[in-house]
Subunit: 377 residues, 2 copies
Amino acid sequence: MTVPDFGFELIGTDRTARRGRVTTAHGTIETPAFMPVGTAGTVKGLTPEAVAETGAEILLGNTYHLMLRPTAERVDRMGGLHRFMNWPKPILTDSGGFQVMSLNSLREMTEKGVTFRSHLDGSKHELTPERSIDIQRMLDADITMVLDECTPHPATREQTASSMALSMRWAARSKQAFVRRPGYGLFGIVQGGIYIDLRHQSVAALTGIGFDGYAVGGLAVGEGQEIMFQVLDGTLPALPEDRPRYLMGVGTPSDLVGAVQRGIDMFDCVMPTRSGRTAQGFTRRGKVNLRNARHQDDPRPLDAECRCSACRSYSRAYLHHLFRSEEMLGPILLTWHNLTYYQDLMAGLRQAIAAKGLDDFAAAFYEAQALGDIPAL
Amino acid sequence: MTVPDFGFELIGTDRTARRGRVTTAHGTIETPAFMPVGTAGTVKGLTPEAVAETGAEILLGNTYHLMLRPTAERVDRMGGLHRFMNWPKPILTDSGGFQVMSLNSLREMTEKGVTFRSHLDGSKHELTPERSIDIQRMLDADITMVLDECTPHPATREQTASSMALSMRWAARSKQAFVRRPGYGLFGIVQGGIYIDLRHQSVAALTGIGFDGYAVGGLAVGEGQEIMFQVLDGTLPALPEDRPRYLMGVGTPSDLVGAVQRGIDMFDCVMPTRSGRTAQGFTRRGKVNLRNARHQDDPRPLDAECRCSACRSYSRAYLHHLFRSEEMLGPILLTWHNLTYYQDLMAGLRQAIAAKGLDDFAAAFYEAQALGDIPAL
């Protein structure tokens, strides 16, 4: 079997929204796509079979966690992350940069990269653009992300510009370090905070270097949905049409709908999985807290329109009981549901774009969400 | 569809060992059988589909936990435990007595029954033979257990005799309270500690009352395997051949093999599930601690002969990583494996009895267990 080259095909558009397909060494991804987060080599609480059943075609793995445990070298010796975690489909890994910045307080930044101590055993580690690319190669990521500095919010224009410039120098070094293999791609990351002209400078720098895809970074860090959408409105038209666009770490269902309308192709977020572990269920009529006593005698499924196991076979009363009893099956079933909800939302968006009916789809989405949960019995 | 009557068919024997079939309202159970424990309406960490895939044909539910949360009344309103937890096959419930004694320190025993306060909300509850039977009816258990007093070990002959006598009076009241329905059965529990003559008195009392099956209680409470087997040797010949025999709360794989050789038909134990959550895996070559560093680079499955998902698709290195990272998937996969191991052991015992080759099977079992785990790579 010959491995297809990494690529992106634009299948259709509806105004600025895009329906596409990413081809990788481990399979294709229909876009717009949502990537569940498999932090430490597992989507918390689910078998890979269950993750695939939700409709997910690609997972995200966290370089920071994996480099510390079990280590990239060990994953490499075990045949790569796909084989290690039994997920034969595509995997995207982040660069590790964001989590070093947000999770590790014992770090030191220089032009060269960032050094830090492991929170697990105190061992010293260095993350440079070159090292991050090499780690992601050992993990066998289909999509590798460049190392960047995630500019904090709020930041002044000067701080943002200087941070973005560093990220662009790191992007050039990342490209240099990336060893091209058939079916494997490297994505650059647009920075520039809330300053559209800096975003344009960043796009120009990245497209000058040339990447297989372009991520928008530094959003969903507290600026709010309206500003995030403004930044997308200002930035996305500058990106090449023939490359996938990935909005990192986003977001809520309405974030996804709005970002798809503006032309984003890929997303990742811990929201459906983390919420699933804390009794927060996403439904076509908004978010539901299953610990709430109103569910304790409710024989109805969480979301009657959902095709997932949790909704087909269990009542709200049972899910409520599992969370109150702190039983593992609660997080398992609700993570399963939330990921199914997210994947079905993406499938709906893809169909709507293909049918050039995205505005109607979005209107119906917001209308249903505004209804709020079904009334208690 | 007419519901078959509750019954037991003795299909074959090999010396004192028995191959049989229990018929209940929710299906049949091939014996000797092992029942996974679904304490609070869930086998911890597994979906019912996964539990069924291990080969389990019947689950045990804990009356004590369920009566406190979500309450038997609520389970009843939700259509019974099978429907509530999405387990359409047979369920056996215990009486709640053992767990009131072992888990609840705010209890008071009288001839009538036991009163106690809930550890969840301080509410006051009474567990009498009649109330226990009624709770188990609301849970819709295919097999109901009589309320008994589990005699502590060690206990003097006098303490044991007096406790056993109380249990026999409660057994008579339980039989009186049990409302017979097609496909539903009531089991008595033989007590008498390590005193064979007291065990015989207990058997005589119970068979005088008449039950659909007979459990042996008060074992595996610290007396050791040798004494447990002696009690079985002394007790089982006194039990009627045409009723199933259930050894409560037992046990290790070698406990199961020895007890089946002596004529036990049914078992329950938290060992495979609890061990699965604490990184202890059962294999054909004994117990393995997956947190041990020797596994961190081992690409081999936990048990190469095992058909379970965990052994077919994952390495010891991956399972080790999951437990070290405290990922839910570790307990999930290892519980799945351990239950599969237990079910396959029971299937092997059933086949061996049918082929009248149980002694050879047991010899091969002990030989493999004595080998110890495969050497590190």
